[in-house]
């Protein structure tokens, strides 16, 4: 391998290897950034979806609780006014009054009941007006209906509204039947009406309560029109936004990768051109003159001292070398000719 080839190899390797490493680093960086970003976005989507779902569930729960409480409260106010206006004084008058029956047992939202009850002793709440009145009218919740076994959570709420024989506001959750194959969660509120009536059968004054409950799942399923929990619907919507964002991000990264590759290709072409020019200059300015000098030196070495040394006009090291070689050639020529004359 001559000096020109060696120098060419050094230039190419010295130029293109760092460019290759640089290009690989940039590509690696872009791909790495893409992977990390998508991973982070994925995780963000999962976390956000879960948190938004839980928060939405919580706010919808509060909204449902507030709705039940307000309906029960407004019903209590209306019943108090109605009872006083109609001058009702006994439980018997109450349950037989068609207006009271209408108000006290109406169904709202298509499926949710309103009822009127009385406090017959400590924790002894008994239903007086209810859509299912006949079955549960004045029945003791434990002794007659055995709700301590079938509906302990409901029993607890109702008993809490009659603690100490006083009508007390009491709200809470309980399970009643099934919705979509799952236990149906209900929320109820019992609100004191602020009226006591005489039960002519027992001879005791009975503080009145009114209450209502709502199927928590069905109430919100009507709102969200979905079998899943409302919070899950919100989380699902959020996840779809995340997926859209992810797709946008992937598109952006694809564009970035494409542009990076274009810039790298341009950089490689430019560098290759610079390397080509450098190689041309190396060959023409250094390697070729050295090659010329080597050829003349070979000629002189073989006895041909007539060829003049080229490149003597140059101002660089090659010029210095050429001029000195030419001086030696001339000396050899003069000595040779002089010796011939002797």
């Amino acid at each position: 391998m001559n000096i020109a080839t060696k120098m060419l190899v050094i230039i190419i390797v010295g130029s293109l290897v760092p460019v290759g490493i640089f290009a690989a680093s940039i590509s690696g960086m872009v791909f790495g950034l893409e992977a990390e970003s998508l991973k982070a976005l994925d995780q963000f989507g999962k976390d956000a979806g879960e948190k938004v779902g839980n928060t939405a569930e919580k706010y919808l729960e509060r909204s449902g609780e507030e709705t039940v409480l307000r309906i029960a409260t407004e019903n209590a106010i209306y019943l108090r006014t109605l009872i006083k206006a109609k001058n009702i004084t006994t439980i018997q008058d109450l349950v037989n009054d068609p207006d009271i029956q209408k108000v006290g047992s109406h169904v709202w939202y298509g499926k949710e009941y309103v009822w009127i009850g009385g406090v017959y002793g400590d924790k002894d709440f008994r239903t007086l007006v209810h859509p299912l009145s006949e079955k549960i009218y004045k029945k003791h919740l434990v002794k007659d209906l055995h709700w301590n076994e079938s509906h302990p959570d409901l029993l607890n709420i109702l008993q809490s509204s009659a603690i100490g024989g006083i009508a007390t506001q009491s709200c809470g959750y309980y399970v009643w039947g099934e919705v979509y194959g799952k236990p149906a969660k209900k929320y109820l509120c019992n609100i004191p009406i602020g009226v006591e009536l005489l039960d002519k059968e027992t001879g005791q004054m009975v503080p009145l309560l009114t209450g209502t409950g709502a199927y928590f799942d069905s109430y919100f399923k009507d709102i969200t029109a979905s079998q899943v929990l409302p919070g899950e619907s919100v989380a699902g919507e959020m996840q779809s936004y995340i997926e859209e964002t992810k797709k946008d991000l992937e598109d952006s990264f694809s564009q970035a990768v494409f542009m990076t590759n274009v810039y790298l290709a341009i950089a490689i072409v430019v560098i290759a051109a610079i390397v080509g020019v450098a190689a041309y200059m190396v060959i023409n300015l250094i390697s070729k003159p050295l090659d010329d000098l080597a050829k003349v030196a070979e000629k002189i070495g073989s006895g041909d001292i007539s060829s003049e040394i080229p490149h003597r006009e140059r101002e660089d090291e090659i010029g210095v070398l050429a001029r000195n070689m030419e001086g030696m050639r001339r000396s050899l020529e003069i000595a040779s000719e002089t010796l011939k004359e002797i």
């Binding site: 001029r323 030419e326 001086g327 030696m328 050639r329 001339r330 000396s331 050899l332 020529e333 003069i334 000595a335 000719e337 002089t338 004359e341």
Partner: protein
């Protein structure tokens, strides 16, 4: 610039290479010169021009020195 031994030797070496010193010294010996100056260097060049191979180089040096 005044011509002296070093200047002439330098100019001759440029044209004829390292052997110039031998020829210059021999020429000065032949003329029994101990040193060179503006007046006697032309005699030395005249002796050197007697060598046909050396002549062309000496003439170049002579022209250059005349131009100084």
């Amino acid at each position: 610039m005044p011509v002296d031994y070093d200047l002439l030797l330098e100019e001759l070496k440029k044209e004829a290479g390292p052997l110039a010193k031998i020829f210059l010294d021999k020429a000065m010996d032949a003329l029994e010169l101990k040193d060179l100056n503006d007046t006697n260097y032309k005699d030395v060049l005249g002796i050197l021009k007697m060598n046909p191979t050396l002549r062309k180089y000496v003439e170049v040096v002579e022209k250059r020195l005349n131009g100084l």
